[in-house]
């Protein structure tokens, strides 16, 4: 039901645990390319993705999902870029994602937002 994309394995692990505790089923991907492959294999209602990642980055994933799966809700979480001062979240909002969260984020807020988007 949710595809969770983050290049940090630990981040994926704990967020998956939290989402599962909230009774969501979760599939993990460590980059945008794998995530898109998962989504194409079987579409999920939600994609939760980091922005700054190797391989196809978050923006490419967001773009592809929005085009191919208009009904899939997209939530972006980001800790900012490594080298530049670009505001990735603002950029993501401009792309029309459904919600953005800056790391470190409040998991309850994320869950509430998922709940709201689910209805």
């Amino acid at each position: 039901m949710i595809i969770l994309v983050d290049d940090n394995k630990d981040q994926r692990l704990v967020l998956r645990l939290a989402l599962e505790q909230a009774r969501y089923s979760v599939r993990e991907a460590e980059n945008g390319r794998d995530a898109l492959a998962l989504q194409r294999a079987r579409a999920s209602a939600f994609v939760i993705t980091d922005i700054f990642m190797p391989e196809a980055d978050g923006f490419e994933l967001v773009d592809a999902v929005r085009k191919e799966f208009p009904s899939t809700k997209i939530i972006v979480i980001s800790g900012g870029g490594k080298t530049a001062r670009h505001n990735y979240l603002a950029a993501a909002r401009l792309l029309g994602v459904d919600a953005t969260f800056e790391k470190p984020f409040n998991v309850d807020s994320l869950l509430k937002r998922l709940e709201a988007l689910n209805h």
Binding site: L13, V14, E20, Q21, T83, K103, P104, V107
Partner: protein
Amino acid sequence: MRLRSHLVLLVVAALVPPLIFTAYVMRQDLAEQREILDRGMRTTARALSLAVDGEIKSSLAILETLAASDNLDSGDLKGFHELCVRATAGREGAYIVLFDRLGQQLVNSSRPFGVPLPNPLRETKAVSADARYPLLPLGGAAPVRKVLETGRPVVSDLFIALDSRRPTIGINIPVVREGALRYVLEMSIEPEPLVRGLLAQRLPEDFVASLLDSQGLVIARTHNFAGRLGTPLAPQLAAQARKADEGTGEGRTREGMDVVHAFTRSQTTGWTISLGVSQEVIGASMSRSLGLLTGGAAITLILGIGAAIVLGRRISRPISLLAGSAGAMARGEHADLNVSAVRELRELHGALVEAGQAVRERATEHERRLAAEEADRAKDEFLAMLSHELRNPLAALTTAAHVLRAAPPGDAATAGAQGVIERQTQHMVRLIEDLLDITRVRLGKLSLKQETLDLAAVVSEVAQPWRAAGPLAGRATMSMQLSPVWVHADRARLEQIVSNLLDNALKFTPASGEVHVGVRQEGEKAVLQVTDNGRGIARESLSRIFDPFVQGEPTLDGGGDGDGLGLGLALVRRLAELHEGAVSAESDGAGHGAVFTVWFPAVAAVSEPRLAPSKLESGASLRRVLVIEDNHDARQMLGAVLEMDGHEVREAKDGASGLTIAAEVNPDVVVVDIGLPDIDGYEVARRLRAGAGGRTIALIALTGYGGGEDHGRARAAGFDAHLVKPVSMERLAQVIAELAASSRATPA
């Protein structure tokens, strides 16, 4: 056009018009002078003519008087002869002749009375045979005849007198009695007196005056009279004199002299006065004026042009120098100039120097600003990176906290979350340690505890766990080729250098790859080389890879959990430099692997090179050691190593049990981890010190942090030594040995 040419042009333009004007004025002046000369000459000629006329008129007056004589009435010719002789007594060369109506001379005062006398009218030869005067007629027949025909006085032209045979002129008048012409009376005059009359006019020496008869033959002349008597004037001059009664002209005399010519003809006598002045005399003054003008003009021009050239050079040379120096300034060189004599050029020089300085200052300022901006940008990027690096583990930690809160006790999720917390905390600790280290190095606060070490041994120790874990952790395999080489170094920092290099190499080398570590001596250098066949480094990144806060490749982010702040290599360089060594990196580009080389100054081997553990054995007596450490692996490892060293080892997993065991076994040394689950290490130390035998017990703290504050707290709590994790076993053994030695020296 050059400045010099401009100035020359200026001089020429300024000088030539006045010169032309002067020449014009001078020409006018010369013409005027000429006019004055001509007028003067005409006046002189007229005066001369009048003088001659006066002479003739006085002769006429004498003749008139004689004509009225009674002797002629009475026919007393003898008496008349005496009268005539008396009348001409004072006049040289002059005599009186009386002709009858047939031309027969009746009386001749130059001859005695009564001698036979000639008759010019009957003289058959019209031309004199005198070779000296071929043009002169013999005898004055023409005037006598003319008087007989006209009955009027006649002044003759020059002729040869019949009796004297000398050139003569005759003044003839009729003698009338009772209305009829009875005689012709003539006064014959030889020319010499006339010449004297001319000379008496006191003409300037350069003036040549001639008296000509109506035939144009010379009667008298101021120069060369004898030679020219009876000859005509030069044809050119004669032609001029024939055309008018008075005038001026130019021509050449028979003597070949170029003259200015003035003439006037007497109405009384029909004779002409011709006056010549040598052209040379007139020309001399004129050409002197012309010469002065030309010479003056030439000298003025030459001086002017010379001055223009000199002045032009004086102005243009400094300008050329200034132009050169402006070029030099533009290239950033310093330009020094000779100061010019021209004030404007000095001012220009000053302005150029100021402008040059301003440009240099602005360039320096610009460079400074660029450097500042670059530093600013690097800091900003570092902060962005730091933010990213801290936000990621923090996000994982907060999520883990949420999971732990929401999970029911004993749920499998708890273990997962705890593992994440441990790993992410460790990751953050490592980040922070790197940060602290690089800050210390940058601030110069990092002090080295240098000793003589075998680089190969240190590398071997550091690499050991990596080698063992490599294949299991999915890492590249590692090979080593180590030759002993001794360096003077801080052991902990040397280990940091080695582990950072190995960490870096393994991070970017796939599991199928290989990392090779070499240590060898090259001359004065101890060289450590780490070679991998991993992802390599792009050529453009090579030069920056050791810069702090700059990560060689942003895309290397893919290291997953291993990514850091990019400070590892910067630390390696700083630490190597602190040891008076250096680092370098080589790579044939992305995908071709990389070679990192570090060198230190090699030192002489210590006299008895031994392995570290044996050093411990020699200096340390065997002790009872208690290890209080909550981490099972770490505790067991410490215990095992200490037992291998021959110590008697007891272990405790928390503070409470540690205190209990200490009370039981009364250990010589207690190694305490500060972060214990129940009571912290500081509290354990305080209680041990307070307990039985607490004053002599050796206490060693183990912490994850190396800051001065932790060190101070450890000392305050009663610890004798403070070691930062991960603890080198050799270092621990060394500390135990030292503490044991000092406690031996202090009686219990």
